[in-house]
Symmetry: C2
Subunit: 396 residues, 2 copies
Amino acid sequence: MPKSIRPDYRKDLEEAARQMILIHRLDTLIKLILKTIIKNLEVTHAGLLLYDKEKDHFVATVSQGKEGFKLPTGFIKVSNRNPIIKYFNTPELQLSKNHRFLISNHVEEFLKSETAKKDKEKKSFFTQLLFQLNLYNAKVSIPGFFRDKLIYVSFLGRKKRKNNFSRKELSFLSVLSSDVVMAIQNAWYFQDLKAQVERNKSLFLQTVRALTAAIEAKDKYTFGHTERVAKYSLGITKEIKKIKRMPNKKWEGLQEDVRVAAFLHDIGKIGIPESILNKNGPLNKDELRIIQEHPLIGSAILEKIEGLNKPTLGIRYHHERPDGKGYPEGLKKDKIPLIAQILSVADSFDAMTTDRPYRKAFSSEKALTIIKENINTQFPELVVKAFFKYCKNNNI
Amino acid sequence: MPKSIRPDYRKDLEEAARQMILIHRLDTLIKLILKTIIKNLEVTHAGLLLYDKEKDHFVATVSQGKEGFKLPTGFIKVSNRNPIIKYFNTPELQLSKNHRFLISNHVEEFLKSETAKKDKEKKSFFTQLLFQLNLYNAKVSIPGFFRDKLIYVSFLGRKKRKNNFSRKELSFLSVLSSDVVMAIQNAWYFQDLKAQVERNKSLFLQTVRALTAAIEAKDKYTFGHTERVAKYSLGITKEIKKIKRMPNKKWEGLQEDVRVAAFLHDIGKIGIPESILNKNGPLNKDELRIIQEHPLIGSAILEKIEGLNKPTLGIRYHHERPDGKGYPEGLKKDKIPLIAQILSVADSFDAMTTDRPYRKAFSSEKALTIIKENINTQFPELVVKAFFKYCKNNNI
């Protein structure tokens, strides 16, 4: 066994394969792969061209080691016509049938051979191939196939201590290569699923937003209200996170619920006649009673939807007050869900600072004073504190 | 090397580990694991208790081999107080410190020892432990830990040819165990992500459904219309799949788009005054012009949403006709997107078969006759063909 290869490389391989499974970020995964190669084979550097499914070309990703790519990584796009890609995808071109390694010495030898002198087309191809290998400073290049599809090409620089790679070392690379293929494939699956999760989330939010905007358009006095309530509510939520030192994960959940609740908080107005919503002047007792049904109508529309339980609580109770004088149930203080408390302050502030049929908009200053004067009666203390911090940070 | 263990078991291990990565269904994964064990160690059977994160207990999953569990799999739930689980979770209880295997012979020997005679508590524990091992017909049991957390326990029956497991075999099991832990962890991640995708999809559909139902409730003549149009449209889509021999994947995409489009096809009515929507009697020219704006209003509400491009086309063009006499653009024949053609037939049929302010509902028979008489003028041929098949299959 050559000195430069560690006797326990099997263990390293097993360990690397195991680690690779749980790495679902491609860049982290590739860094680990290249580090494993550099550590076990003691080469000057290693790099990798990874296939990009969407764009049907290869991209130079991370390069590890001091004598790496001469070209900047991440920007190099390599098409299927590139000689290296073509070499691995065309069995007839390959110099050896036993394995699919590409060794730059072999290319150099071939170029001096009689065959090369006779076959000008082949000579030209291998000249270009050698030029490409030199671009990557590559002594050896190894392909990774998943079901006959080339998904990556790795490059290795020169050995630090001796000239050539031993049989053992090439076998190490071959075993590693199969593991790498599986790990990349696995990471791709994850990436696709994660992208799907993100797409669906965004689809949901955008649709809810579009529908509520359309509903809101019927109520001529509240244009843009929903968007502003969402903005204020999310601002309050961020400050509450700091005040309460909320763990990230818990806060992310709260934030998502607050966003959805804010978009949908007035959805119940869909059940209120247009004549009342658009009335030019103050409402009478009966009309007020009808309009005050909107939190209940809203929660009735959404209450059966799994996954909207918390936003629905926000919608139902966003007109409650800490002193119990709110509606629909007259809940007091901490009985009012936090999400509803947040909406309540955001909603009231926006209502005060925009024109209404029966009065002009208040200034932000005046609205903030009113809110301050009504802490613990109309408005919950913690949320007001958070809202004031938010306003200060955003010059409101 | 004992005869019963194959010399190339390393290769088998590597191959199994590679296969495991890409198996994200837990039951398939566990079957592969048990088959690998049975094949390499020539045991009568192998089984596995898998940890259930949600419920914080272990569940007996698949059992392979003829002399398997005496209890039915899938139903056995094993709590953390079970002696086997307790054994692996309590280092002080373990009979050997070199490895964490549990070998039934060792338990039997221990029970005959002086220590056992003196320590009644320990004797009682190991008696129960042996009883449990016998329930699973287990000669050896191996735990799988992920970061100090026990995530599975596997059981092996007796060797087919000799009595005891060799050192090599136990080492095989130990290496395999690390791979299995990673593969299970990977499959769990995958399962969680998939569940999230499904939850989000369902959240989106349920919310759209709830909101459109709420909007529909304003139009007293169309109660249940959206749900019925969705039902008919999906029925038509299924028949079109058969007629056109559509590949599964393409059809699934179409079906999802059709479902969303059907739920949202009348969303533009939100922009039409209630007085026109609920008018008791036929509409005049101006009112008709206003109500005919609803496909354009609907597509305007949704057009900016990525992921709703195709449903939006359906919404925009569901009142077009093959002869070009429809609205809003007077598109002809194949210029009308398939999704809009589908909605058009489903929508018209439901409009005809329900009461309107100005007439009673037609019978299904009469409505189908009218549709047939207007093929290629009002209704597209292929979709009508599919709808008639759907009606026949569902006794409409």
